[in-house]
Amino acid sequence: MPSKYAIHTLAVPHRFKSVSRSGIIAWEEGCLKCAVCVKKRCVYGVYDNRDLDPMQMIDSIDNQCMNCLRCIQGCPKELIHKSLNPEYKALGDSYWAPDIIAKLWYQAETGKIPVSGAGYPGPFSGPGFDSMWTDMSEIVRPTRDGIHGREYISTAIDLGRTTRHISFDEEKGLESGSARILDIPLPIILRTPTFGAISKDTINGWTRAAKGLGTLMALPQKMISSTPEGSAPWVIPMISPEESGAPAITEETRVAEVPWNEEVSGLVGEMEDRYPSLLMSVRLPMDHRAEERALVLAEDGVSIIHMEAAWNGVSMGGDGGFLKDGIRSVHLRLVEAGIRDEITLLSSGGIAMAEHVPKAIICGADGVFVDFPILIALECRMCRRCTKGLSCPVEIQGASPSWVASRVRNLVGAWHNQLLEVMGAMGIRDARRLRGEVGRAIFFEELDRATFGSMGQVEEGCELE
């Protein structure tokens, strides 16, 4: 058995004060200066070391507050009032909700799994990944000594293609060619987000994080020059046909990506012949034609198909389909054709939380690309100011590569732990075994149909009175 894969995390503080969930709204006047002052009794001591960040106007009492509301309830004259912070409510958008962003910040800072006490307060189900629930039936008898205990849970996945069968020639030599496989220790590949105040240092940091984690970092061709020396094996150059310039692929490159087009299979074959250890990935937009196209690619012998959804996980074709359904349909199509095991299916777009990784895998992906979370790990507020030429409120472009690398390492470390927890709770010990394992999940739509689908329908031969 190989040595256990572990991500060692270390708390890395924010560079800026983070936007807090709640804020004091009013200090009423009329303090009695009484002896039972709630400010002195705060268990977190937030009133003792009060400070105001003048550039962001963030008060330490808002920032350090753990929202226990003891001071609001305890003040004899009821002088302190709190409400949701308007800046917090304005974070992100409908998909990258403030709570998701705040949890990603926490994970990048501490490297720990975010735990909310007092149960789960959210809705029962929702759109996208929220409409599927993973199996937790084995949680009653977890591994004897926790997810990092003696029982081994492997999160490694294989990238590449395998042959359907092996055949030998007359001299008992291998005729069918060997499988071209690259295994990475976790089903998460980093990828440059489509916007952000990204500098050379940011790219450098991300690549260092990918190398340290043993995974890969997908970068557009023009950004490759910003990567540190010797990192070529950990970089996936995203080659675009329009862009000319220095060849992005070297002898050390292990995976490269090209966008889909009608003649892509030929190009992929050519590249793989030229570089004997190279795996080529084809980026296929997720839309209603993805199934057919994926099938053609698989039959042409492409190693990796990367299903790309939009930033919020919806279909590129504008038909409103979500990533999870897109992956399922392509996966099932390949299963029906009997060629699913020969290729690798990766997906991207809208992977925002740790639970989305096992959910995408259950739907049929081998692994996922993570893009915006690695930007949010650097304190990004998803305000999109950078897309309008405004300054970044947290100056991401000025962050040092080592800080960037540690923050991303913390985030991925927390996600890896959550993946282990989820897999442990399902009783699954290998991420490769989880792929397409829909028996380990319940889909809301299916449950809804099975329970209520027949209601209101009249059986044949029956007459209503």
């Binding site: 709204i25 009013a26 200090w27 006047e29 105001l52 949701l84 308007p86 300054s391």
Partner: protein, 139 residues
Amino acid sequence: MYREQQITLGLFYCQNVPESREENRQALEEEFGKSLRLFPIPCSGRLEPVHLLKALERFADAAFIITCPVGACRYFEGNHRAKKRVERTRKILSDIGMEPERVGIAIGSKEAPKTLAQQAREIFREISLLGPSPVFGQE
């Protein structure tokens, strides 16, 4: 149009001011660039003299607060308190020999409500005569 004057305004505003959402804020920042720094607060009653003074100390030539109309504060007395605190800050400024006009309050009107952008433009007009703050020295 105001950018040439190089006056920086630190502008606090209650989240209940009309058209003061994130997109309006970004549009204003695009228009005024670095000469305007916006700080949304849950209620103008949150404002304390230290906020205004810190703004003047660190980056602003003037610091203002926009509140809801009198009697329309969601938390009853927020704007009333903000007014008192601005007056107090003004007194501190005149005591130390600075123009008290560098700090001010814009109270909304129930009859003719104004948006954040309109208020910001009016405040810029008001402070345009002040000139750069002596805090940052002669540059």
